[in-house]
Structures are given as structure tokens and as C-alpha cells.
Subunit: 325 residues, 2 copies
């Protein structure tokens, strides 16, 4: 029984919850300390039980040191259940009498990464660094994207942490556009992440290809904003303060910074601490810092790295060189 | 306003539902008739509105002929909402007074594919056929998997329809195992799918590499089971009857057939009609047929294709050659 499970069982005892049902994949993987590739439900009673389909029983037994049971019915799973996640689909309410939301506790546990988690996130960061390193910035968007995802896979990323973004030219002004069969020109933005045994990484690089002065000027403002955020990055700082410092620095460009400065990363690529809420950063939280400026129908620049928060600073987990112009 | 939206608005009028909120990505993509790559909420009132984050407004306007609004708060989204999906997370209940489940109607609409959907699923099937065609069956599991996913991507699959399965030797007895850095030997099972503009495909092939008599015998039983299912595949047949026909045919091997004979495919790779429920097949449903036999610590065989149901039979949508031994 690992520490994560022990802590959660202690919580259930304190709250006098006799049975909890965990459906959210990332929460299950948290307690499994691994990525389970198929349907499963984690039920905590006196101890945890992993319910899987008949077809996956042998697989689950290889995977997990949690007792495996065969999933028969939702009725059985929810019988006398008290603790559920806030993401529970309302269709399951018919099986419940009273319930307590227990997912906030799991999120709280997941917020501070332990040694094993940090190791996996570091590995995930290394994989994505390597995947982007040797790409040809003058190919087409889809091809570069396919090569990055190929590199991720052969280096043991289970899958991309999210839809890999490889976009160029005017499309860079759209933070979440997808690659197309178009030749890369003028400016290239790559936003990619790996998933190593459940744990995500997240990095963005922008490459200016046309030597355009306006783009270079904006690029350097974004780069400076990132360095400024790093200067203030340590345990005890609030995400709101970090965000404010960067927004103040942007000045007249602030209105072109249309998303948050960062977000937590772990089993989900976007998880707590969210910068739109207000968190005090703590040692062993993992977050991104990703300032960006976007000019409609012209171009956009974003530079993003992944950071482990330390008492007196941080450790940058992604280490792909940042181009200088 | 497309036919799908019209039909749903008619349904809301009939049921006297003034406002519905759609959160499930596949349901939103159904009405958008495209894949939207970022956070969004679809709200139906007198007409549909697509709510997206500020950062994605320009992207959404390029994408969709549905009016785009900026997402501000969940409170605003759920204000006076009556229709919600059964997958709605319980955390949103605080915003609702009374609600009606409207997702069953959407599932009913999604069950029968229209021309545009069939075209996309066919394209998705062609992409995965092509992706597997030229792979080297003697490489290692991860490499083959990475190549297949690379091929999917350069042929415009947005992402794999699910974690691509490339497993060999004894691991083939585990229907959902994942590839590892191991040389392929004795027997190879590939289960893969594409996602073309939101629409999935799904195919499985098993390759016997060691010429082992027992494996070949089982392979041919599975292959015959698939042909037998095809002989009975047409509008009007029930999924339960199809499943029963195959299970009867398996005889003493039936207990090694540890999953369903098939499932619906569309915006989700597993959707209605589910074979574990009982459906009468109708023209323009899209399903898989995938008999398989699994022998613990020895090997497993599965052969799967994707089918469009027709009045008097079917059209096979995946067309990768099936090896004969």
C-alpha cells in the first residue's frame, strides 16, 4: 500500500466515509502510480479495489498491487458509496443516497508532487525536449507535427499530452489552432507535451524565420516577460502576483496577452494550481510559465517552460534551447 | 443551420425545453460538423451559441457558422438551463433547479449516420488501412506503433482514435496491453484507429509469424467467426442474435471470447449501438465486428473490421487485406 493510498484512507477515516468511488482516470492513475490503459474503477473501502472488465483482469493483475476485481454492474460499484468525485456524471445519481465530494482531497494531494512523480515529470520533459530538438523548421505543419509525435512515441511517451500544435505564419495568432498541410513560413510556433506513465510535460517555442523586425521586437518582449516571471518564481509567491508582475511589464501590449501566465502540470496537462484562481506556490508544485502576445491576422509569440518550485527558486524541467534574435 | 441542429431544436420545442447546455466534446462536434480543438460549450436557446475562451474567439469564428460568444462564467452558461447531458459532472448541479436529460436524444440522432458523417468515417477507415499497410512485422512493438501513428498523422488523422495497440507473443492474450520496447516475435496483434475531423475508425489484424499450428488453427476459427457474422449482418438483425450466432459457433472455445462481438463507431470509437445492450441494426449505423479468442500466458487472436449497415447487407469500410494461413 503506497503513501498516496494511506493518506487517502486516513482522510476517509477522519471524515467518517466508509466507501469512495473513483472514476476519473487521472485520479485512479495517481493511486495506481501508473497508467492503466483500459476501463477501470477504483473503490476505496477498508482498502482499495480496482474493478476492471473481465477482458482486462489479467492485464490489471500484472499492473497493480491493488486487489483486482471484475466489474459487474454500476449498482454493485455504488452500493453504500458515500464519497464521490465532483466530476461524477449525473447519470450515476440514481445509485446514490447521500454523497460527499472527495475529489478536492485528491486534488490537494496531487498538488504537491512526490519524488516518484517528479522523476516521471522530468522524464516526460526530457522526452518532449528531445522530440522537438532536431525538427526541420521549413517543412510543412503536419509533417513537423507527425515527426514530433513520432519522436515522442519512440522515446516512450504513451501519447501526446495534448493535440500537438505546430502552426506558422498568421495562424500563430490563434493560441489553439491545429496544423494543416501548409508549408511553414515567416514564424513557427510549436507547443507540445509528452505523457510518460501518466505524467505530462508542456513546452512552447517560437521560431522567427523571416527576420522581421516587428516580430523580433515582440519576441524579445515575451522572452523578457518570461525571465521576469522566473526572477520572481519561488515558494511563497502567489500566482496572482506573478501574473500581475508580467501584465504590468507588458504595459501597452497587455491586452494582447489573452490567456493565463501558467498552470499546474501533472497527471493532467492543465491542473491545479490554476493561475486564474489564486494559489501560493509551494515547494514541489509543478507549473508552466508561458507569456504570449497575439496580434490578430498578423502573428503570435509564446514561450513556455515547465518548472519545479523550490524553496528559494525553481528548477526548470524543460531545457530545449530558447532561440535568441 | 444544419439538419442536426434543426432536429435538435425541434426536439427541444416538442419537449418544451427552453435552454440546453452541451459540454461533451463529441456532442458539440456533432452539431459543429467539425472537430473544435479547444475548450467550448454549446448552448441551445432559440438557436445554438458556441461559448469559447477569449483566447479562442478568433479560432472559433473561423471554424463554425454557429454564433460565437465569449465564455465568462458557469453561472451565465447554466442560467435558466433545463436540458443537460447525463455525463454532466455533479459539480454543476448547484447551478441547476430542475433539469431534463437531453443527451439520449443526441445519442439517438448520432446512431444513424448521414452522408457527410459516412464520408468522414470512410476517410478515417482509409487512413488507418494505409497506416498499417507497409509496416515491418519484425521490428519492435514501440517502433511499429510509432510508425503507424506517424502514418496516421501525415494522412490527416487528428490523433489516434485510441491508444494504438501493437503487441506480440504472449502479450496478445491481453486485449488492451500497450506496446513496449520488445522485439516482435511469434505473433503480432495490431489494433488501431484514426480520427478524421472528429470521426473514428477501428481495425484489428493479427499476424502469425512462427507458423505454429495451434495459432493457425485458432486464427482460422476466429476468421470463420467473422465471416459468419458478416453472413448475418444487415438491417433488421439484432446485435444479441449476431453475438449468439458467433458464440454458438465458437462452441468449446466460447469461454475464451472475453469481450463483445462489436460496438458502434462514430465521433466516439465506442458508442451506440453497444452489443452488450440489445439493438436492432438499422441502415447507416456504423459498427465493428471483432471476434477474438484469448489464451492466458499463450496468445490471443482478434480480427476486426468496420462496417456500414445496409438494407440487405453491409459495406466493409476498412479494407486492409486479412492474412490467410
Amino acid at each position: 500500500m503506497n503513501r498516496k493510498i494511506k493518506k487517502f484512507l486516513e482522510y476517509m477515516e477522519t471524515e467518517n466515509i466508509k466507501k469512495s468511488v473513483i472514476l476519473k482516470k487521472e485520479n485512479i492513475n495517481y493511486f495506481l502510480e501508473d497508467y492503466f490503459p483500459s476501463f477501470c474503477v477504483l473503490v476505496f473501502e477498508d482498502k482499495p479495489y480496482l474493478y476492471v472488465g473481465k477482458l482486462d483482469k489479467d492485464l490489471a493483475e500484472n499492473y497493480s498491487n491493488i486487489e483486482v476485481k471484475e466489474f459487474k454492474s454500476w449498482k454493485e460499484i455504488f452500493k453504500d458509496a458515500e464519497g464521490v468525485e465532483e466530476s461524477l456524471p449525473i447519470r450515476f445519481l440514481e445509485h446514490l443516497n447521500n454523497y460527499k465530494i472527495i475529489s478536492k482531497k485528491i486534488e490537494e494531494l496531487r498538488l504537491i508532487k512526490d519524488k516518484d512523480e517528479i522523476k516521471k515529470i522530468k522524464k516526460s520533459a526530457n522526452i518532449v525536449d528531445k522530440a522537438i530538438k532536431d525538427i526541420d523548421t521549413y517543412d510543412n505543419e503536419i509533417n513537423v507535427c507527425a515527426k514530433i509525435e513520432y519522436n515522442l512515441k519512440i522515446n516512450n511517451s504513451l501519447k501526446p499530452a495534448f493535440d500537438t500544435i505546430v502552426i506558422s505564419d498568421k495562424k500563430t495568432s490563434l493560441p489553439h489552432a491545429l496544423p494543416e498541410n501548409r508549408t511553414i513560413k515567416n514564424i513557427l510556433l510549436i507547443d507540445a507535451g509528452a505523457n510518460y506513465r501518466g505524467y505530462c510535460s508542456d513546452i512552447t517555442r517560437t521560431y522567427i524565420l523571416d527576420n522581421d523586425k516587428e516580430k523580433i521586437k515582440i519576441y524579445n518582449i515575451v522572452y523578457e516577460a518570461k525571465l521576469l516571471a522566473e526572477d520572481n518564481l519561488r515558494e511563497g509567491v502567489s500566482t496572482k502576483d506573478l501574473e500581475r508582475i508580467v501584465r504590468n511589464f507588458f504595459g501597452k501590449y497587455e491586452k494582447y496577452f489573452i490567456h493565463s501566465l501558467g498552470h499546474g502540470v501533472g497527471l493532467e496537462v492543465h491542473e491545479k494550481p490554476f493561475f486564474r484562481e489564486d494559489y501560493i506556490l509551494k515547494e514541489n508544485m509543478v507549473i508552466t510559465i508561458e507569456p504570449g502576445l497575439y496580434f490578430k491576422n498578423k502573428f503570435g509569440v509564446r514561450i513556455e517552460d515547465l518548472y519545479l518550485i523550490k524553496k528559494n527558486g525553481f528548477k526548470r524541467l524543460t531545457s530545449l534551447p530558447i532561440p535568441e534574435y
